[in-house]
Symmetry: C2
Subunit: 105 residues, 2 copies
């Protein structure tokens, strides 16, 4: 299992709505994440909109591609795109893993 961390930027004036949406993610979306290898997946938000994603997966490229191939992800990412500072690009196309420099089990 590999540990993956990525960063995104949520628009400051949309933070509350972003939080609300993520308190009620569609069950089909959750199932698709599970099915495509997203484990122990958390999102953390700083007050200025910096968003940290952390997950564990056998293969992050495969997890991204697996989700990208699902219809539910396309619908979710289209709805979420307006929350991000990315000119409408889908968030899952901008999840660049940071370098892990330390780990303690």
């Amino acid at each position: 299992m590999k540990r993956i961390c990525f960063l995104l930027q949520v628009k400051r004036h949309r933070l509350e709505e972003y939080k609300q949406r993520h308190a009620q993610v569609w069950p089909e979306m959750l199932q698709a994440l599970r099915d495509t290898g997203w484990h122990n997946y958390s999102l953390f938000l700083r007050d200025d909109g910096l968003l940290v994603g952390y997950l564990e997966t056998p293969d992050f490229e495969a997890a991204l591609k697996g989700m990208a191939a699902t219809e539910i992800n396309a619908r979710w990412q289209t709805q979420m795109a307006e929350f991000f500072d990315m000119g409408g690009e889908h968030a899952d196309r901008a999840m660049q893993p940071l370098t892990e420099v330390f780990h303690l089990d």
Copy 2:
């Protein structure tokens, strides 16, 4: 077990040395972390020095206090302080948890 994420800023011109130090953390420091409740603890670094910490712990306040009470942590944090953009303050005194807005087991 609670999931904790915090952010720090490493000086850009010290990134390589920071990485090297964390590839060989003192065994006594690792043991102290384990003993005080730091589990599944990772550090991730972005190219500009933004550092993401992620860990799982029963009680983050207790984990911080437990480490702060050890002599090995005082020595480690004193050596590490020069790597951070914090005016010499010890990093473990600036680990402010972000808000978790989503989790999938």
